[in-house]
């Protein structure tokens, strides 16, 4: 191994790390009278510049590179590193207005460190590297969730997130050790190759299930979701947005990679009446539980943040459906959906943050009359929620159509009846979901605002830009899904 090669491969991450250090340094500098001389807008701008620079550096790297199989760079990982960077960049738009006021520099630094972790998750193809990268991202996210130390909700969020997270990390690591012990390799492709010649034994199955449990925590699948509502509710808005977007994107990406590269030979079947042992039935169970519990729990929520958390659980279920088919089409559907889901989540948290700041809470009633006071924000909120509900012309519609079609097409060729039970369940639950989204939108558009307390109206410019970008992308991708689908498919074809 050559250190120069290593440096080239992780150059984007290196840029991000350098930026993080600079931002932390500037943030810690005390000026006259102990106050920090740099405004948070300035620090955020540096952070944003770092992310953009990392994205540009990424474009300059060779098309395909690999570091002994530990870290790889191919068209697919490059594309999704860009997606992760974009998510972080969008999240940064929330920092000046809604991050906890103390220690801004460190807060920004942590976001950048989390981005480094997530970006490394995308490019790693080795169990050890995957674990390290996931933990790097998670540790930063734990702190980000609890950053608002004066707020007991924030502390609770961090505590729950951390406890569940560390236990799931233990599961993941234990599962990895079993798989390593059984196959003799930590490299994803080698594990897959080794499995082709090995009989499957219970100890290996145990390892796979433990790994899936650990990753199930990252992608917020039932029954590993219990941390999510509290974390989404208590964390500062930018942290919650990053947890809901970047972290989920990376989680699903690596889950798909592990399943396809390593365990493709041990998939089994979840077809009705034709169950066969493997990870597919296990994942089908997680998907069914997530769709049902996520949607049913969301129906009962009064806090919009918790509602978004449960809807995230439900969407996790829909996305898992795409993985079940195991083919390239399913993976393309999953990757398309997580990308647009991440954008939607950030946008929705932006709106929630604005409402919280102006009205002092995030219950459904606090959204009353938002359309009168901030019509643009309300319009974007409509786009986000309706896209989550899967209604055209928004990207969520095509995304769901693609996911469900790939799930149906994945069972025995030409016969769509295998997974119909699961797809029907998903569709039925999706109908329910429209009810709770419309309940919020009814408040936004049809109810008069609570008596005016003289707070500001309209949309702040930075938030407006972020909302316009995300909502615009969702509408545009809804009408022309090929713009994102084509690069994903091309990359998948190269990777094979």
């Amino acid at each position: 191994m050559n250190y120069l090669e290593f440096l080239i491969l992780v150059l984007p991450e290196a840029v991000l790390t350098m930026t993080a250090l600079i931002v932390i340094g500037l943030g810690a500098k005390s000026g006259r009278g102990g106050a920090n001389p740099f405004s948070s807008g300035f620090l955020t701008a540096i952070g944003a510049a770092g992310i953009v620079a990392a994205g540009l550096v990424l474009a300059l790297l060779p098309a395909e590179a690999s570091l002994g199989g530990m870290l790889v760079l191919d068209p697919l990982t490059r594309l999704f590193k860009w997606v992760i960077l974009a998510m972080s960049l969008l999240t940064l738009a929330l920092v000046p207005g809604w991050a906890p006021p103390a220690h801004r520099g460190e807060y920004l630094g942590l976001i950048l460190f989390a981005t480094v972790g997530l970006s490394l998750v995308i490019s790693s193809e080795d169990l050890l590297m995957i674990f390290l990268a996931l933990e790097l991202a998670s540790l930063s996210l734990y702190i980000l969730a609890g950053y608002n130390c004066d707020d007991s909700y924030s502390a609770e969020a961090a505590m729950k997130y951390f406890l569940f997270g560390s236990i799931s990390a233990a599961f993941l690591l234990f599962g990895m050790s079993l798989v390593y012990g059984y196959t003799g390799s930590t490299h994803l492709a080698e594990i897959g190759a080794a499995l082709a010649d090995l009989p499957t034994e219970p100890i290996f199955a145990l390892g796979v299930v433990m790994m899936l449990a650990g990753l199930g925590f990252k992608v917020v699948a039932v029954p590993f979701h219990l941390w999510a509502p509290d974390a989404y509710q208590g964390a500062p808005a930018p942290s919650a947005a990053l947890i809901a977007s970047g972290s989920k994107v990376a989680g699903f990406f690596i889950l798909a990679k592990i399943l396809l590269l390593s365990f493709a030979d041990w998939d089994g079947s979840a077809d009705w009446g034709g169950f066969a042992t493997g990870w597919v039935p296990f994942l089908a169970l997680l998907a069914a539980l997530s769709m049902v519990f996520g949607n049913l729990s969301a129906l009962a929520q009064t806090s919009v943040r918790r509602l978004l958390a449960y809807s995230a659980v439900a969407h996790g279920g829909y996305i898992l459906l795409g993985l079940l088919s195991g083919g390239t089409v399913g993976i393309a559907a999953v990757l398309f959906y997580i990308t647009l889901y991440g954008m939607t989540a950030i946008g929705a948290f932006g709106v929630v943050a604005l409402v919280e700041q102006r009205r002092g809470g995030d219950s459904v009633a606090h959204f009353a009359g938002l359309a009168k006071e901030a019509p643009f924000t309300a319009g974007c909120f409509l786009v986000f929620l309706i896209s989550l509900a899967g209604i055209p012309p928004l990207a969520g519609f095509f995304g769901k159509f693609f996911l469900f079609t790939s799930a149906l097409g994945g069972s025995a060729a030409g016969d769509p009846s295998g997974l119909v039970w699961l797809v029907s369940l998903g569709l039925g639950m999706n109908v329910l979901s429209l009810y709770y989204y419309l309940r919020v939108l009814k408040q936004v558009f049809a109810r008069p605002p609570a008596e005016s307390t003289g707070h500001a109206t309209g949309t702040p410019p930075l938030l407006g830009c972020m909302l316009a970008t995300t909502a615009g992308a969702i509408i545009f991708l809804g009408c022309f899904p090929n713009l994102l689908l084509k690069p994903i498919e091309a990359a998948l074809r190269v990777v094979g």
Partner: protein, 494 residues
Amino acid sequence: MIAWTFILAFAGAAALLVLPKARESASRWIALAAGGGGLLIAIQHCLLYSKNTDTFQSVTNWEWIPALGIRFHIGADGISLVMLLLTGLIAVTGVLFSWNVVKNPRLFFALFLTIIGACHGVFLSLDVFLLFFFYELVIVPKFFLILLWGSTNREYGAMKLTLYSVAASALIFLGLMAAHVASGTGSFGLFELAAADYTRGFQLWAFPVLFLGFAVLAGIWPLHTWAPTGHVAAPTAASMLLAGVVMKLGSYGALRVAMPLFPEGLAAWSGVIAVLAGAGVIFGALAAFAQRDLKFVIGYSSIAHMGFVLLGLATLNHIGLSGAVMQMFSHGLIAGLLFAVVGRMIYERTRTRDLDELGGFRLRHALPAATGVFIVATAASIGLPGFSGFVAELSILIGAWRAFPFYVLLGGIGIVLTAAFSLRALNRAFLAEEEQTDRPPLPPLTRPEVIGAGILVTATVLAGIQPQPLLELIGRGLDGPLFEAVLQIREVRP
């Protein structure tokens, strides 16, 4: 290019959204222009249709989402053109009957035009994904139209209507995906899917799923209760649009997609469809008989009329199917007219729709023009000769006679009941002879109202005395390749 119908509507909607508030009063003119443009294009294509022997004309076929074999494929046959004509008529008159909307007219007309554009799109799509895309596009605008501008019980009505639509769409969603996968063509094109071979076992479950999904929007009994509640809660233009055009999206989808795709499933289930359709006719009419709210009377009468459409679809013969399409057109105009009279002409002046209270207004003397329009609409709704409803219902009954004679009896009872409740409503609301009360005189009809009513009355009378051009258009559509298998079902069997 026929795509201009929906491009105009969507462009109009977009223009309205960015229109400055100071120029708010221009919004109705923009809406009128966009709707009127669509109508003119539809008329032009109807006139030109016979010049060419192709079943589908003005075809545009572009690649859209190659990963799933989805194409932007549109084109119009005779059936599409008749439906486009209806959409255009309702668009224009709907705007005319909303001329006085004061509360945020820009948003109102933008939502209205979005629905219009989506309806145009459904009627033109030759790719089932594209059709479904337009079909679902209707859902959110109609929710907000009812929620923000509605009257009686609007939050409940809007939510119920929306959830029914979405649940029905989920069935369509499932049916279309299953067809795509089972066909093995890797395409969502209507022709490709219709040409594929499906096993009988598959058709037996896929057909009812797909058909029921569409039929819910067409108000099939017993899943029809969303329609009266929603249509009563909606503002006038939206009631006209929902009952006049949006319900037809359901029956059109059933005819265009569900039936040609799965002929074997259709053959097995057509008896059940006929039973449900007959039940819809009877129960819709009976329910209309029991209403005190004039708008509810019309809401339930729509169920009865749409029952005729479904009955026509179930006959599976040429005359029955063409009667069904004719009935879609005819009911669209009549429902539009009735909702316009009740929601706009009467309710906005009297602030009541209760049959007995309306009797006290002596509407015959207070609003003679509105009474006259209502009488014409009632006559058309009953199916008197000389109106479009007569031709349509007669064709359906002839078709039904050939397919299953017993149902003609049901249809006949339905017609009698329709006449009974229509005349009852007319009598109690408009012609009641009550003692003179001291009510302030009602304002006379405005010019947009008169023009709107004139357009609809003319259309239904023209289609009644001269139905041949429309029937020719419909007939040529039914002769197309899509319906070959459907029309063979009954002929093959002894």
